[in-house]
């Protein structure tokens, strides 16, 4: 039997991929291959650390180049195995994905440098740096992928690496925290998988661009509301939104500081990213219906986070509640759904990635200098070193959303967006949450820095591995606060890309390709 003659160009990519499009997958390729390489270099911990740092610098440059490419030329798509979408698995990058990937690379580099002195020899032998690279592979993959089942797989990649990082050291508290973190996050991803299964049953496709295009037509016939609720619950669990947030303060303070910083900066933001991507871009009509629910959840998250921070003695757990409060602000942005509100949510997410990493590194330094993480025991840090106290105060104020630091602008956007749609209670909640957080952060400064220590603290030198990332992140926080214009533009265009995904869809399905 003669083989049928087929025209491959109808189903496969036949033209060579432009070099710039390789940028869409290079960050993930880099992270996975470096993770494997570092695993093989297990017996050379010193070399391993330096290769990892160099790799993270390269990752940062790649993500920056990707962002520049996407901003200049619109969303870009690369398809695996030459099969055209929706059959091939696509990596589609728009401004939102590229921005988040870049922010993640900044956080990972800072945490990686801090880890040079923070991880012990045995921690490195158990694979801190390989797990760090694999975590970055998962996070970056989740940001860049354009296929929803693929998103699930990247969630699992980052989840399994985060389990590894979380129990590095095997202390009792770590195992206790890891058990709660692992069980709840696994349930959340399972819920996500259920939603993906139902999604495939109703749409017959897993490609996000394809789904975004078909969603409007299907909204009357398929159980899209159930889907939206499942996605909302799964991603709210990932992002630690109010009724499902209690795993975060139970686990984030247990691992090494570099790991906590990485988690606080990245993992909850992946949940928010997926929430915005799926609910705003794929199921906009259902998001409209659910907006009141999301708004209430967001408002409660803001308040619960701020009140938790007020009631907490342990500095690291207090920061866990600060993370939660920030998540509430982003959810409010997602609930508003206007260009302004989404822009505020995206801006807040970027600010939060940088700031929460910096705050945990700060807590690590404060604990090392003061000998404890408890607010009841800390004291005298201001007298010990004025510079460190100044950096601390700036980062704490940025967390409360006070000018002139990075937290101010996204809050302004969100408050204005809520007032624009007449939701004065949301604006009030954001402001009240900021006020309570200011008191909580003021308490930290009062007790840990201003209160004189009973025996005066001996002078402590901060090595460059801790000083450099802290200083760099602080400069970034001040820089965003003073010159927000460019980032604001980027956040706005990211929000526009979410609200009107036609450019995203066009990059996956240019005119004339089959569906």
């Amino acid at each position: 039997m003669a083989a049928p003659v087929t025209d491959l160009s109808a189903a496969m990519v036949t033209a060579p991929v432009p070099p710039a499009h390789w940028l869409a997958i290079l960050p993930v390729v880099l992270c996975i291959s470096l993770g494997a390489l570092l695993l093989m270099l297990r017996s050379l911990p010193r070399l391993q650390a330096w290769i990892a740092i160099a790799g993270l610098v390269v990752l940062l440059l790649l993500d920056a180049a990707l962002l520049q490419q996407v901003v200049g030329h619109g969303p870009l798509t690369m398809v695996m195995g030459r099969w055209l979408p929706p059959f091939g698995i696509a990596f589609t990058v728009d401004v939102f994905s590229a921005l988040m990937a870049l922010a993640a690379a900044v956080a990972a580099l800072a945490a990686g440098i801090y880890a040079l002195s923070d991880t012990t020899e045995s921690g490195r032998r158990y694979g801190f740096f390989p797990l760090l690279m694999l975590l970055m592979a998962g996070v970056t993959g989740a940001f860049l992928t354009g296929d929803i089942f693929n998103l699930y797989v990247w969630f699992e990649v980052l989840l399994i690496s985060s389990f590894g990082l979380l129990i590095l050291g095997s202390e009792r508290a770590q195992i206790d925290g890891a058990l709660k973190y692992a069980v709840l996050n696994l349930i959340a991803t399972t819920l996500f998988l259920i939603a993906v299964g139902i999604l495939y049953a109703s749409f017959g496709t897993l490609n996000m661009a394809d789904i975004a295009e078909r969603a409007a037509a299907l909204s009357g016939t398929a159980p899209l509301m159930t889907l939206a609720c499942l996605f909302l619950l799964a991603f709210a669990m990932k992002a630690a939104a109010f009724p499902v947030n209690f795993w975060l303060p139970a686990s984030y303070h247990t691992p090494r500081i570099a790991v906590s910083a990485l988690f606080a900066g990245l993992l909850t933001k992946v949940g928010i990213y997926a929430l915005l991507r799926v609910l705003v871009m794929l199921l906009p009509a259902e998001r409209d219906e659910l907006s009141l629910l999301i708004a209430v959840v967001g408002a409660l998250t803001v308040l619960v986070g701020a009140l938790g921070a007020l009631a907490e003695t342990d500095l690291r757990r207090l920061l866990g509640y600060v993370v939660i409060s920030g998540i509430g602000n982003m959810l409010i942005g997602a609930a508003l759904g206007t260009a302004e509100g989404l822009g505020g949510a995206v801006f807040y997410a970027l600010h939060s990635v940088v700031l929460m990493t910096a705050l945990y590194l700060l807590a690590g330094e404060a604990g090392r200098r003061g000998g404890s993480f408890s607010l009841a025991a800390l004291g005298g840090l201001y007298r010990q070193n004025g510079w460190f106290a100044a950096i601390s105060l700036m980062l704490l104020l940025a967390a409360c959303g006070l000018p002139p630091f990075s937290g101010f602008w996204p809050k302004v956007l969100l408050v204005k967006a809520s007032l624009d749609v007449g939701a004065w209670w949301l604006a009030g909640t954001i402001l009240l949450g900021g006020f309570l957080l200011t008191i909580a952060c003021g308490r930290v400064f009062l007790f840990a820095y201003w209160r004189p220590a009973s025996p005066a603290l001996p002078p402590v030198r901060t090595g460059w591995t801790a000083g450099l990332p802290l200083a760099a992140l602080t400069i970034l926080v001040i820089g965003i606060g003073l010159l927000p214009e460019q980032l604001l533009q980027l956040a706005r265009s990211a929000a526009d890309g979410l609200a009107d995904p036609s450019a995203y869809i066009f990059s996956v399905f240019p005119e004339g390709t089959i569906r």
């Binding site: 989840l159 195992i175 696994l186 349930i187 259920i194 408890s374």
Partner: protein, 125 residues
Amino acid sequence: MEALFAILVGLFFSAAVYLILSRFSIRMMLGIAILGNSVNLLIFTAGRLTRVVPPIIPAGADMLPSGAANPLPQALILTAIVISFSFLAFLLVLTYRAYQELGTDDTTRMHDAEPEDRPLPPLGY
């Protein structure tokens, strides 16, 4: 056939939720194992259940005959099985370690990360 599977998936889910709500971590692990399997069955059912028409494209055609099962969900399950299996293995080891270290598998008595007798936050100096 699909209705039967839907009921089965529902039963699996309820058993899983019941077990996950338990206080004891080993029961929660059993619940998670069942939950993973129920999700796999759900996706499997979503791809149509039939054994009449094999999912093979006949010569001369370029599409599956109508009524054939969709092979993609089965590929998806393959991924999901591998992932949920490895996670379950990890979680079982973690639970065992937790039992060894903390001396209990009752989650209400696991208080190492969040100690019960924490001092009150300082109210002033």
